[in-house]
């Protein structure tokens, strides 16, 4: 499985593995349940008992105990991370504003220059979507990223 595929499954690995671990145990318990139906038996699948245990009875992870120094370190790191993201966001915002301003200026100049080209530039297709060939980049891209031949050989 690629790194990408592995990351896809990481978020739910814990839950799935917990269920998977109980697979063999559940098989035997299901057979036992089918064999001996006692008077108090509630016709429910023993797999549901396992699900109940996983969903409601499993204790949450123990967080590490932090001293006062550690708390300060933790908060400093979080603050640094926030500052980093804020700076990045501000940088992106500035770049966007610059690009947008350049686009507006270009449209204004075109309107003064040539009205036919201006109308053609302003014309919008009604139901436009990005092409299917435009794929979101991956860490292991294909050899040919874009096929310029339009499918013809």
């Amino acid at each position: 499985m690629s790194a990408f595929g592995r990351r896809l499954c990481l978020s739910t690995k814990g839950t799935a593995s917990m269920l998977g671990r109980g697979a063999s145990a559940a098989k035997t318990s299901r057979k036992a349940a089918a064999a001996s139906r006692g008077p108090g038996h509630t016709n429910s699948d023993p797999r549901y008992e396992q699900m109940k245990r996983i969903l409601f009875e499993e204790e949450p992870r123990q967080l590490p105990e932090l001293t006062a120094e550690d708390v300060e370190r933790h908060e400093t790191i979080l603050r640094a991370e926030k500052i980093y993201y804020m700076q990045k966001s501000a940088q992106r915002r500035q770049e966007r504003e610059r690009r947008f301003g350049a686009m507006e200026k270009a449209y204004v100049a075109l309107e003064k220059l040539d009205s036919r080209l201006f109308e053609a530039a302003c014309k919008k297709e009604p139901n436009v979507t990005f092409p299917r060939q435009m794929r979101v980049p991956t860490e292991t891209p294909p050899r040919v990223i874009w096929d310029y031949s339009n499918g013809k050989k």
Binding site: D70, Y84, R99, V136
Partner: protein
């Protein structure tokens, strides 16, 4: 994380060495999030842009069209006493395109309706477990808001479960859906052009055969006494359907375009 450069600086205290590592990695965002910020956002900004003169002209044309429609409308005039009974909710106005108000995916809700829960409440556990495996978040059980005698449903009975995803979890789920699950489905070619709720939100519904296509569910499929379908509601900040479609197509969600008649197509 692969291909990520990080600077690790040693922390003085020995006890805290294991707890902290001050490595500001090149901010790892999910793949779709990165793509949106690097590429899609600017593309959408450019595609959405309409110069103010053209916008004003279009606005004036729209106003005259609506005026003519109202005047030419025949039949009984509307009853002013029933004006408060707005049957059709008015759509929000399309905002003026600026550098910052491009549409983005706001929230994704994964919903499992479990009719079998009416007979046996335990079946809801399957739904909750499935949601937790698919999304990585704890599901919320929903109770019926109204009675439905045809299905023996009473108000207050737990009937379904949902998870609301935002941020990185949302992008991870969408990524899994678009890259792994949809291609594995039999005969799925994309959303129709009639999809959408009118204001840029889209819902995809799947039956029980699809839930097993998720990589996490394949592993533990046998542990589910009840395998259900699910529905995915994608809420965007797009104000109209075409804009929402443009946004989602950028992430890779396929749409079925109507075939153009041959006379209108040409080869460059």
């Amino acid at each position: 994380m692969f291909g990520v450069k990080s600077m690790r600086s040693a922390v003085a205290s020995t006890a805290s060495k294991r707890l902290f590592a001050t490595s500001i990695a090149q901010a790892y965002q999910t793949r779709l999030n990165q793509f949106f910020h690097n590429t899609l956002r600017d593309d959408l900004m450019i595609l959405q842009y309409v110069p103010p003169s053209v916008r004003a002209r279009q606005g004036a044309a729209e106003e005259t069209r609506m005026k003519e429609a109202k005047e030419s409308m025949g039949g009984t005039p509307p009853n002013p006493l029933r004006k408060h009974k707005q049957i059709r909710r008015p759509k929000p106005n399309v905002p003026v395109p600026t550098a910052h108000n491009t549409p983005f995916v706001d929230k994704v809700t994964v919903h499992i309706r479990c009719r079998e829960a009416l007979q046996n409440k335990h079946h809801l556990l399957s739904a909750l477990m499935a949601l937790q495996i698919l999304t990585g978040e704890r599901g919320e059980v929903l109770k019926a808001k109204n009675d439905a005698a045809a299905w023996k449903l009473r108000k207050g009975m737990p009937i379904s479960a949902k998870v609301e995803l935002t941020g990185d979890n949302m992008y991870e789920f969408l990524d899994k859906l678009i890259e792994v699950v949809l291609p594995r489905m039999k005969e799925y070619h994309g959303l129709k052009m009639s999809a959408g709720d009118g204001v840029g939100n889209f819902t995809l519904g799947f039956d029980s055969s699809v839930i097993g296509l998720f990589p996490e569910m394949e592993v533990v499929y046998d542990m589910f006494p009840l395998v259900t379908g699910f529905s995915v509601n994608i809420k965007t900040t797009a104000v109209r359907n075409p804009t929402g479609r443009l946004l989602l197509s950028g992430f890779g969600l396929p749409f079925l375009h109507a075939r153009k008649p041959k006379s209108e197509t040409f080869d460059l």
